[in-house]
Symmetry: C2
Subunit: 96 residues, 2 copies
């Protein structure tokens, strides 16, 4: 199991239609066949400035690679993520 997480902030105003659309359109990532347990989350700690998080799991590195290279992921990063996300941090976990 590899858990891929990314915590991020958007350039859109909080509660805006643009923010809602970004999150709704990001659900295309959940449909990539190797993605398990896809979650969209709200970041609520006051100890950092990020607004949202995505979390998903892959069975193995091959599943992760399939996601990473999938045309829907590549297009989402190119057309939406790079244009609408202002700051982010990727954190990936496996079991100890």
């Amino acid at each position: 199991m590899i858990r891929h997480t990314v915590v991020f902030s958007l350039k859109h105003a909080q509660g805006s239609a643009e923010e809602k659309k970004f999150l709704a359109d990001a659900m295309i990532l959940a449909k990539i066949p190797t993605v398990r347990k896809f979650e969209q989350l709200k970041q609520v700690s006051r100890k950092n400035d990020y607004q949202f998080g995505f979390s998903m799991e892959f069975d193995d590195q091959a599943g992760y690679d399939t996601y990473d290279q999938h045309p829907d992921h590549v297009a989402f990063v190119r057309d939406r993520w790079k244009k609408e996300v202002t700051d982010f941090l990727e954190i990936d976990y496996t079991r100890l």
Copy 2:
């Protein structure tokens, strides 16, 4: 549901007895009554420098507060975390 996560690095050498002992002793946190789904994780992304993660869930803010104020948590932070952790970031999530 509130998911409390912390990604961190230890001052100990990788694979050392001190590292193992820190992680083993941290399992006391899992026994605090309001803690759900406690996980110890290995951080594997090359896009950040953290080594480990803890993740846990609380039913609500009251459960989080109980954990935060619990003597076993307070003592662990004071006696171990502040002395053995070199860098960390807390990220907390709720459902969108």
